[in-house]
């Protein structure tokens, strides 16, 4: 079995997001980094499937040189090798990202065989375009099911569950397929240190794709004005309870 997972390096923001001087990026000087939360679950799922079915897993990312940290994190969880599409740090839009990933996936499949599954996060934590996985699936000519909370191999296909109002919708598609998943799919394992050490020497193939002109191009970022919430104090400690209850009564929920 061969499975690929695509991830993206994103900063870990806290309560306030600080921007750079020119307002075109987040100030990440004192921030930690991770792969998007949905993708962590994708990586974990891929590792579990290969553990159960034998085979090979590959993690791919399009990102700056530092993204190799996230590739090593994925390999520490158990992914076998990585492909790094290295950028110069400038942002790529969804179309460009998908195109570069498609090329890398096709090249790897030509060399090592088709991927039964390619996992994506439903959307990245930062740009949230909701489309890279779908674009890649279309280009590869494979069925795509999105927003998944449960994935199970079922004969020659895969049975997937997607959260909707009032339960979950079930989709069944044949392999090879592309799946975009959401956090909650599983609880990712904590990587062991031997795993992290082994990951240091697992292979990372680096290429430098040419950045196409983005058709959706970032001009400037801004922090939205607060919704005007006034933070009115209702009191301190247990003594504030009557004021809270009065508020609930006025809101019509009691």
């Amino acid at each position: 079995m061969r499975i690929a997972v695509c991830i993206k390096r994103v900063p870990i923001t806290g309560g306030r997001i600080l921007l750079t001087e020119d307002g075109r990026a987040i100030d990440t000087r004192h921030l930690g980094f991770t792969m998007s939360p949905h993708e962590e679950c994708g990586v974990e799922e891929a590792v579990r499937l290969i553990e159960a079915n034998k085979g090979e897993s590959v993690v791919l990312t399009l990102g700056p040189a530092e993204s190799v940290e996230q590739l090593r994190d994925a390999m520490a969880l158990g992914i076998d090798r990585a492909i790094h599409l290295q950028t110069d740090g400038r942002e790529w839009d969804a179309e460009g990202t998908a195109a570069a990933l498609v090329e890398a996936i096709r090249a790897d499949e030509a060399a090592a065989g088709p991927f039964d599954l390619v996992f994506f996060g439903n959307e990245s934590a930062d740009s949230g375009g909701f489309q890279v996985g779908i674009r890649v699936a279309r280009a590869l000519g494979r069925p795509c099911v999105t927003g998944l909370k449960k994935v199970a191999l079922d004969g020659a296909g895969v049975r997937c569950e997607q959260d909707v109002e009032g339960g979950r919708d079930v989709y069944v598609v044949l392999l090879p397929a592309v799946l975009t998943v959401k956090e909650g799919l599983n609880l990712p394992r904590y990587p062991s240190v031997p795993g992290k050490m082994r990951a240091r020497s697992k292979p990372v193939a680096v290429t430098q794709p040419v950045r196409p002109e983005p058709r959706l191009e970032l001009v400037r970022l801004s922090v939205p004005a607060g919704q005007g919430r006034q933070a009115e104090s209702l009191g301190t400690g247990a003594a504030a309870a009557p004021a809270v209850v009065e508020l609930l009564r006025r809101a019509g929920v009691l």
């Binding site: 870990i12 806290g14 309560g15 306030r16 921030l31 930690g32 062991s192 992290k196």
Partner: protein, 657 residues
């Protein structure tokens, strides 16, 4: 000289010798199989420890009555040692003894006196065990102890009987008047049976000793051989320092703590062999005292038992893999209950280093098996990715200092005289903040040339290290050392005893050598120098010693100078190096207590019982734990950091002027 006794003695000696030696060799080979531990340097300190702890019985005497009881038996054993040889000779030939020594009156006196002391000691021990029945023996093998005491009593009683009957038969080479007790006993002996009594006594004496010898390496009495060795090889470097793991080695050669008894270091193996099950560690353990699963004594006993069970199997069959220590000998709960307060290590008379065992068990559980309480996992991930246990962005580290006008050291600038290391707690916890604010204001007032690193600080790594995640710890330590060295920092003041301990005692292993001073020490110095002038008021203050200050690092008097400068001091019973943990150490700040009563409540009760209106602290974690404790128990006290108390006192003086 008759041949039969000679042969009989030879046979007995050979039998006992073989049985003893076989077991001793097994134990030795076990220890040789242990993983390396660097305990061969610092010879002067080691010899000094032998003199003070072993010969001087210093740790045992921390509890006076049992200490004296044991000292009597131990010193007695030392003095009486040559009498074993004398007895062996005497068993063969009643007319022979050790040349020279056997004839010395002064030695006979010493023997009488110390034999009596040993007997008194044994009786005292029985009284303690049977009448007083201290709680610390819960879980210990009492039957075994009784047997050992009975054997010791037997040795001494047969010795007196032999000497008395020797004197009655005029067989003694030493002047009888120099052995008053034996002499007095001798005068009560009469009749034709005495020669038989004399032979019976000496042979009984020899046989008891030889049986004891055989029994020794199978029982906890092994400590008489091993404890002195264990004390010699004890830690000589800072108490709060843990031994780093070398991750640069190939993965198969890295020791990730202890999964099985075969992973233990030789020192840890000797630790387990030294345990006498005395229970002093159990008595002072905050976890045990509040109903948790952990008892340091039972932990060491369990590891010893598994080592003795599985170790020999590995010696005979190299492919034998012992079962994992956790959960077979020791449950997960026991490993996580520990707050690394060090009270157990301080009490242990035979130099067992319980914390090292717990940390090594944790290292395996965390780094290899990823097996730990879930909420601690969140903390570890946050420390790893966001460089602080709260998972907040580094850019938020400056918020606490808004409006204070502090200098933030920028890359490339010259280092100030003092770097104020803030730590994560004051940056991200609102209760811990106050101490940092007060300290900063006081340093500004005193005109200290200082700066903070602001967002360039990463977590010191202590919570990760105490949880056993040595890998993350070393990464953070490396980052911080690079930042501090790059800035040319020489002197660091910090409000957090955990940062204080790790930066001062542990960072040197990673290239970071700085003079690290706790804020109470630094502020006390400023007061002494007259740079800060507090005015005391009538409040009664009881000061809670932080474990990482008072016990691991001997910072005890300086905080008390501050207490005296701001109010009236009243001490809790468990103070200074006997302090009782607040419950946050060992990364337990981030773990829930699932059974028993909360450790912080226990300490707050003790504080409230002093009647003081203020509970002074010197640590951000103690602040949070004890404040929680005060709120949850409804105690009528205020928990305040010494820096804040000092600041108020300085303002008060200014107000009076």
């Amino acid at each position: 000289m008759s041949l039969i006794p000679a042969f009989a003695l030879a046979a007995a000696l050979i039998a006992a010798g073989v049985l003893f030696t076989r077991r001793a060799v097994t134990l030795y080979r076990l220890v040789r199989m242990g993983k390396p531990a660097a305990r061969f340097g610092d010879v002067v300190r080691r010899v000094r420890a032998e003199a003070v702890v072993v010969v001087g019985q210093s740790k045992l005497l921390q509890r006076v009555v049992p200490g004296l009881m044991h000292a009597a038996i131990f010193w007695g054993f030392l003095v009486l040692f040559p009498t074993i040889l004398i007895a062996l000779i005497g068993a063969v030939d009643p007319h022979s003894t050790l040349p020279w020594l056997g004839a010395q009156g002064w030695y006979a006196l010493l023997v009488d006196v110390f034999a009596a002391l040993v007997l008194i000691g044994v009786i005292a021990a029985f009284v303690i065990r049977k009448v007083q029945r201290p709680v610390r023996f819960k879980g210990s093998h009492l039957g075994e102890a009784d047997l050992i005491l009975a054997l010791i009593a037997g040795i001494v009683v047969t010795l007196f009987t032999w000497h008395a009957s020797q004197i009655a038969l005029h067989l003694n080479d030493y002047p009888a008047s120099w052995a008053p007790i034996s002499n007095a006993l001798a005068s009560r002996m009469s009749g034709p049976a005495i020669p038989y009594v004399e032979r019976a006594a000496v042979w009984a004496h020899v046989l008891i000793i030889l049986s004891f010898l055989v029994y020794l390496p199978y029982s906890k009495h092994l400590h008489i051989a091993v404890a002195a060795i264990n004390v010699y090889f004890g830690r000589t470097r800072a108490r709060g320092r843990l031994e780093p793991i070398d991750f640069e080695k190939p993965e198969q050669e890295v020791r990730f703590g202890s999964a099985r008894v075969t992973d233990m270091t030789w020192k840890q193996m000797v630790d387990t062999m030294s345990c006498t099950e005395c229970g002093r560690c159990q008595d002072v353990c905050p976890a045990y005292a509040t109903g948790k699963a952990l008892s340091p004594k039972l932990l060491i006993m369990a590891m010893r038992d598994q080592l003795m069970e599985e170790g020999p199997k590995t010696l005979t069959d190299h492919s034998h893999v012992p079962p994992p220590i956790v959960p077979n000998a020791v449950t997960d709960d026991v490993v996580w209950d520990c707050v690394t307060c060090g009270a157990c290590v301080r009490e242990c008379p035979v130099g067992i280093e319980h914390i090292d065992h717990v940390i090594d068990l944790r290292r395996n559980l965390v780094m290899v098996e990823s097996r730990f309480p879930d909420e601690a996992g969140t903390m570890l991930r946050d420390v790893d990715r966001s460089s602080n246990p709260w998972g907040r962005p580094g850019s938020d580290r400056m918020q606490w200092a808004e409006g204070l006008g502090l200098r933030v050291l920028q890359p490339g600038e010259d280092a100030p005289d003092v770097l104020f290391w803030v730590g994560c707690a004051p940056a991200f916890d609102e209760r811990a903040r106050k101490a940092a604010v007060s300290t900063a204001k006081l340093m500004l007032e005193a005109g200290v040339d200082f700066a903070i690193l602001g967002p360039r600080e990463s977590c010191s790594g202590d919570p990760a290290r105490r949880m056993g995640d040595e890998y993350t710890y070393q990464r953070l330590a490396g980052e911080n050392v690079a930042t501090l060295n790059g800035a040319g920092v020489k002197k660091i003041v910090t409000t957090c005893p955990h940062c204080f301990n790790t930066i001062g005692n542990e960072y040197p292993d990673f290239g970071g050598r700085y003079e690290v001073v706790h804020h109470t020490d630094f502020l006390a110095g400023l007061v002494r120098d007259g740079k800060l002038n507090p005015a005391a008021d009538g409040r009664t203050i009881t000061y809670h010693d932080s474990c990482y200050l008072a016990r691991h690092n001997d910072v005890r008097s300086q905080p008390r100078e501050l207490v005296a400068a701001v109010g009236k001091a009243v001490e809790m019973p468990r103070n200074r190096e006997r302090t009782f943990c607040c419950g946050a150490g060992g990364a337990r700040m981030w773990m829930e207590e699932k059974r028993g009563t909360p450790i912080n409540h226990e300490r707050v009760r003790e504080a409230a019982a002093t009647g003081a209106d203020t509970l002074a602290v010197a640590c951000p974690f103690c602040t949070v734990m004890l404040d929680d404790g005060v709120r949850e128990t409804g105690a009528k006290m205020q928990v305040v950091d010494l820096a804040t108390l000092l600041h108020e006192a300085v303002e008060r003086r200014r107000g009076q002027a």
